[in-house]
């Protein structure tokens, strides 16, 4: 390799910065989806690299299911403050209260319920573009999605009718009511994300590192035991996500590999307590990242169906 050559992380970085700057230049009211998870942590650093010394020219947006790990929320709020960025939070609970979303009794995960909340936030703030941290290596339907993913007036993705994306020329044109989802990390893998976190010395929430936690066994996974229900007259938000008497409970040394919310994130048994350990663990992993996500196991086309309806 000569000196005028980029290694893989530098290549992915310059590509993502280019995408972010296109968003800042082409859209009137973009937002950056920031959950506090590892992918969106990389996105924040890329946004700093794209826009500093100016402010990051877009607010952060997070759609809460109401089942988040508290560590994640604390981290999210702190990072937004440190970067001097505005953080907008909209919640599934609030949407249910206002009649925008209806909880189904048979479905425990609130992934599907995030869709109307996200679409509601897009309408409320008239966002024309949301930058998300989705990666194509995560899932088969995502593998087909463009960097600039067009959504119609209903927020829907039409996989059979995507705009061709050629060279680095992104077509960002919209008609009123339509919007765009943009994924700067499209070409990143789970390993790239961790290698980037290591190279950039990025802070991540401590639930990514091994810790002791009470878990219970369901569907072949160790799920975290939700926080106790404070008997406040409201229904238990974690109903259905609590261990049943016949389900095995154990105190384990675990960490999360990917974070959804508390009821769809499988914990993995791990002693990895540094980024170096995590990189080594992923290098040796024998299951994919999403193999620990209950929300993707419901069917082969679970993600495809959610995306068509307007999911991230």
């Amino acid at each position: 390799m000569n000196s005028y050559h980029l290694d893989h992380l530098q290549y992915l970085e310059t590509e993502a910065i280019h995408v972010m700057r296109e968003v800042a230049a082409e859209f009137e009211r973009p937002a950056l989806l920031f959950s506090g998870g590892k992918d969106s942590i990389c996105m924040l650093r890329l946004a700093e690299k794209a826009f500093r010394p100016s402010d990051i020219p877009m607010p952060f947006l997070n759609i809460e299911t109401g089942h988040e790990f508290p560590e994640l929320l604390e981290f999210r709020d702190r990072r937004a403050k440190e970067l001097g960025s505005k953080l907008i939070v909209r919640t599934v609970d609030d949407a249910i209260a206002r009649g925008l979303a209806t909880a189904s009794t048979s479905e425990i995960s609130r992934n599907r319920l995030q869709i109307p909340v996200l679409l509601g936030a897009i309408e409320e703030f008239r966002f024309d573009c949301c930058i998300g941290g989705a990666r194509r290596d995560e899932e088969k339907a995502r593998a087909k999605e463009r960097f600039f993913s067009f959504r119609d007036g209903f927020g829907q993705w039409d996989p059979k009718n995507q705009r061709p994306e050629i060279w680095n020329l992104y077509n960002a044109r919209l008609s009123p009511g339509e919007n765009m989802r943009v994924f700067p990390l499209s070409n990143w893998t789970e390993m790239d994300v961790w290698e980037y976190i290591r190279r950039e010395k990025l802070e991540v929430p401590n639930i990514y590192f091994s810790h002791e936690r009470e878990c219970f066994r369901r569907g072949g996974q160790w799920l975290p035991i939700p926080p106790p229900h404070s008997d406040n007259g409201q229904p238990d938000p974690y109903a259905g996500a609590r261990p049943k008497p016949n389900e095995k409970r154990a105190k384990l040394i675990v960490r999360v590999r990917t974070i959804a919310d508390m009821i769809s994130t499988g914990m993995i048994e791990s002693r990895a307590d540094s980024v170096d350990d995590i990189v080594a663990e992923i290098a040796a992993a024998r299951v994919t990242e999403r193999g620990t996500r209950a929300d993707d196991k419901s069917s082969e086309a679970a993600m495809e169906d959610r995306k068509k309806a307007g999911y991230f």
Partner: protein, 439 residues
């Protein structure tokens, strides 16, 4: 698993193309499977679907065919991107469909590729699709081409058949100006010569497909002569707390060609204003020099007018500047291209309006001969056109620079991306008004 964890490696982007059932998805599945890049839950999912639909046979194509309609119909609808790594390299794979109606997706997948794999069924030899795909690969100036003669097991690993197919290609390859072409006999289904060398081809002494992908030289695939920075975003901090930033005015963008150094002269086009580079600003600190394709922010010595869509260039290998454009286009939309129609044209970081003044010819992809007097270009047609733009473009020939020589056309009203365009070299270079610009 042999994943590079501690040393930097580079990325090779490649795409696979071939006709329906040439085994593209199977090949990618095989590459992932044999290079140990598949995970247990992926293999489990494959086995589950094999029990239901495949009569027990694992179908490696199911790995890449992600959409429900694809699994049902057993075809690949859209470009699927796959990622895998070996200790030597990381790979981004675009699995592009072979159907005629989805050729536009092949252009999408191939436009960013360092290398294209054209799959040929050994029983069928060269068919129209093989010619079309090779033609598109050459048109897009993909630096490296691999002709994978697949399903060799079905022709008894016959060397004669392999040579026959190679000869079929070599009849038309000289017309296509491809510099690096490699022929490879294989069976993707059984894994011969994909990752592991096959005992069935003692007459073949070349590398396996993965061996070739790991070693092909891609260091010179970016253009490093003639500095080009299309200005993407003007970086002006609002009310900075740091007093040193009060007058900060940076020009952010991804270098589209060449190298830039602190202190060197630059010119802003189309204005022609000249300045020097005061600082190459990055988040990680200032750089002394930067090269294509890094994303940077340039601070100039003089306070001159620069905005998005302008191009900052260096003093050598000057680009062209013109509203009259001559280009090859691949048409990607069911509504055909017609003379006299107006489109948005996006080139580097600027979008202008452009009217099609002439359709010069349509290329017959079976013979590679231009057919003059084409009344229109239909979906998947490739042809030569002339355009008149509402503002001058600062551009290079596509053969010199893929980033400053390419554009897309966008239909007004629907905002559909309707064409990929590759510019011919400018008839004359831009003439600097200031003679002191040249060194």
């Amino acid at each position: 698993m042999p994943v590079p964890a501690h040393h930097p490696v580079d990325i090779l982007r490649f795409n696979t193309c071939g006709s329906v059932d040439d085994g593209k998805s199977t090949l990618i599945g095989r590459l992932l499977y044999d290079s140990k890049n598949l995970m247990e839950d992926q293999i489990e999912a494959l086995e589950r679907s094999a029990d239901i639909t495949g009569g027990g046979q694992i179908n490696l194509a199911n790995l890449t065919d992600g959409l429900r309609a694809e699994r049902e119909q057993g075809i690949t609808i859209d470009v699927a991107y796959r990622y895998f790594a070996t200790p030597k390299r990381k790979f981004i794979v675009a699995d592009t469909p072979g159907h005629v109606q989805y050729t536009r997706n092949m252009v999408t997948g191939a436009s960013t590729a360092n290398l294209s794999i054209v799959l040929v069924d050994a029983r069928q030899g060269v068919i129209e699709q093989s010619r079309r795909h090779t033609c598109i690969a050459s048109l897009l100036r993909i630096p490296h081409l691999v002709i994978a003669v697949n399903k060799m097991d079905l022709v008894d690993w016959s060397e004669e058949r392999f040579i026959e197919i190679r000869d079929q290609f070599e009849e038309f390859l000289p017309r296509l100006d491809m510099k690096d072409v490699k022929f490879l006999p294989m069976s993707a289904l059984n894994g011969d010569n994909v990752v592991d060398p096959s005992p069935k081809t003692p007459w073949y002494t070349g590398p396996t497909l993965l061996g070739h992908l790991e070693s092909v030289h891609i260091g010179s695939d970016w253009n490093l002569s003639g500095f080009r920075l299309p200005v993407q975003w003007v970086n002006r901090p609002n009310n900075p707390t740091d007093p040193r930033l009060h007058d900060f005015r940076g020009f952010s963008g991804q270098i589209a060609g060449g190298i830039v150094k602190v202190g060197q002269k630059v010119m802003v086009l189309p204005s022609g204003l000249v300045s020097r580079v005061k600082e190459i600003w990055t988040y990680n600190g200032p750089l002394q020099e930067a090269f294509c394709p890094r994303s940077i922010t340039l601070v100039l010595e003089d306070d001159i007018d620069v905005s998005r869509g302008d191009m900052i260039i260096g003093p050598d290998n000057l680009p062209g500047a013109s509203t009259e454009l001559h280009a090859k286009v691949c048409w990607m939309h069911p509504r055909p291209l017609q003379r006299g129609r107006k489109y948005f044209l996006k080139h580097t970081t600027q979008t202008v309006q452009a009217v099609v003044t002439e359709i010069e010819d349509r290329i017959n992809v079976s013979t590679f001969e231009p057919e003059p007097d084409a009344p229109e270009l239909a979906l998947n047609d490739i042809g030569e056109i002339r355009l008149k733009a509402s503002k001058p473009l600062i551009f290079d020939g596509y053969a010199t620079n893929r980033l400053t020589g390419s554009f897309i056309l966008i239909e007004q009203g629907t905002n559909a991306t309707v064409a990929a365009g590759m510019l011919f070299p400018p008839t004359e270079a831009v003439k600097p008004e200031y003679t002191d610009f040249s060194i």
